[in-house]
Homo-oligomer: 325 residues x 2
């Protein structure tokens, strides 16, 4: 079903996050009547939500997706619900117990609450991690999940997102609950937090340059990433809510490959620095390797909901950096 | 580490199952001192364990892998532990709540209990479902997970096994807990239960023939399966416990492809019937499709632990059928 944003009520689980803050902002701009930001607020919420939390249409609930009763109560009269609540690869490594609970059982609680409250449509924040790591080239939606030679936390994270998508399919088949699973590539943007292993690289490179230290490049710098601007992601979620289409999964990505070498050069140029990068081998930290030319093809999103990314990487990085300074 | 079976103590979670009963039998034959069969015994345990439950070395605990404290208590002084407790594809479809709990959180409880009790080695019952369904040809251990066009319960089941393997890797990395993940193909054998979608096909074909009804073939009968005899599986688990090797996953399979057409002809011949099969389209039930020539290559198991399957399919099916009659 196609939702109308204007005058409607939304619940965003994990809504105090990077994507959540931009989504709240986008929903308000489009005239949403009420937005329940459902988040345990384990992190400093002012980092991401800022002034949005003072908006009378925004209701901040210290909510846990593991509490079915709490989700059910707070989803009352909700027209559309978005589940952004998740642990990522690093979280799976540090605390697999809570990561499993939140990403899988929490998502099942989310779907059950949506069903019980007759929510019109739900959006599930899936991830390009469903394809695994260590791969390169252009990735289409039917690419299988590569589980080879990746850190266990990262593989478990990707699998948790596959299960999340399948639970959506199951709720569609059993209860006709409309949904979209959106597979985000590496999301970056203003108010970026320090919990995402991939996007963190932008911040770390910037911070090293500002301190006068050389940025670090692994291997020969040919590993590549596909960044998507958080504002584009929020717009994709809203377009998926508004679309008549349902029961599908698709890439929401920048669609362009950038090597770490090019990325470091771009950030160095933006900062106005002339420091040369330092090439290093592994530093022992958990790292998600990528192949050459990695990008997630996003033509399906254009065909199905008319979405395409708009923010050029350079401008997006400038915006991110401004919030760090 | 390499375990000595003779004089050692074992715990088998989900031990009242098809594989569990053959494993208990195999461990007793090799002189195990004590075997804790840890199982909720939701099913009629006499079906699978039979007289084994009266053996003084076998201790049957009505145990739930979701109860960490109960697992921890019962794993005291255990030398080797095997986790067979799992919901399969049909269970994931019917009850995703309990399936997620048992397959993922339950397995984490199992590993944590093994760590806390300094268990020497654990074996995780993984599955060829980690490669997905709908695929054909020879499948090696590095084949990625195909998630396309399969029932959500089946995909979720396969992903739960991938997560299970990764949790093993995590416990090896963090706590040096030795493990093997064994990816079973379609297990069949004496005391076969009716809960496994794939192996059930043998039973159904047999039962139709006995009733004088034609066996059913989907499509053109070219879909293929790879059956592994439960006695071979139990022997594989014991050899993995005894092996010095660790931290690896491998196929435990028949290694041979049989088309459903050939399978039906074989069972018809064993029964001594002359009824011709009936070719049908889908019957609306959840079914796990397979491609042509599907088989899981098992040379790695031979290289790493010296295991290879021994039971010819015809003889194995005869044994299964004798327990049905």
């Amino acid at each position: 079903m196609a939702l109308k944003i204007e005058g409607s009520k939304f619940l965003i689980a994990g809504g105090a996050s990077l994507v959540g803050s931009h989504l709240v902002s986008g929903l308000i701009e489009k005239g949403a009547a009420e937005i329940v930001v459902y988040d345990p607020v384990l992190f400093d919420v002012t980092d991401s939500l800022g002034d949005l939390k003072n908006d009378p249409r925004v209701r901040l609930i210290s909510g846990d997706v593991m509490k079915l009763h709490q989700l059910v109560t707070n989803m009352e009269d909700v027209d559309g619900a978005v589940n952004l609540a998740a642990y990522m690869s690093l979280g799976f490594t540090q605390n697999p117990w809570d990561a499993i609970d939140v990403n899988i059982k929490g998502h099942l609680n989310f779907l059950e609450s949506a069903r019980l409250n007759n929510v019109g449509k739900v959006i599930f924040a899936s991830s390009s991690a469903v394809y695994g790591f260590g791969i390169g080239g252009g990735i289409l939606e039917d690419t299988p999940h590569n589980i080879q030679e990746n850190p266990p936390g990262a593989v478990a994270y990707g699998s948790s997102k596959i299960i999340g998508e399948q639970l959506c399919r199951m709720y569609k088949q059993k209860y006709d609950l409309d949904y979209f699973a959106l597979r985000f590539s590496t999301v970056y943007g203003e108010n970026q937090h320090h919990r995402a292993a991939n996007a963190l690289y932008i911040i770390e490179t910037y911070e090293r340059l500002v301190r006068g230290e050389p940025p670090l490049l692994f291997g020969d710098g040919s590993e590549s990433k596909d960044f998507v601007y958080v504002g584009d992601v929020a717009r994709g979620i809203i377009m998926a809510l508004e679309s008549n289409a349902t029961d599908d999964a698709m890439n929401i990505s920048g669609g362009l490959s950038i090597s770490t070498k090019e990325l470091v050069a771009l950030i160095t140029q933006i900062v106005g620095s002339e420091i040369e990068p330092e090439y290093i081998k592994e530093d022992g930290r958990i790292r998600l390797k990528t192949g050459v030319g990695l990008h997630y093809v996003n033509t399906k999103a254009y065909e199905v909901i008319g979405w395409r990314p708009e923010m050029p990487l350079e401008e997006g990085i400038r915006r991110l950096i401004r919030t760090l300074a």
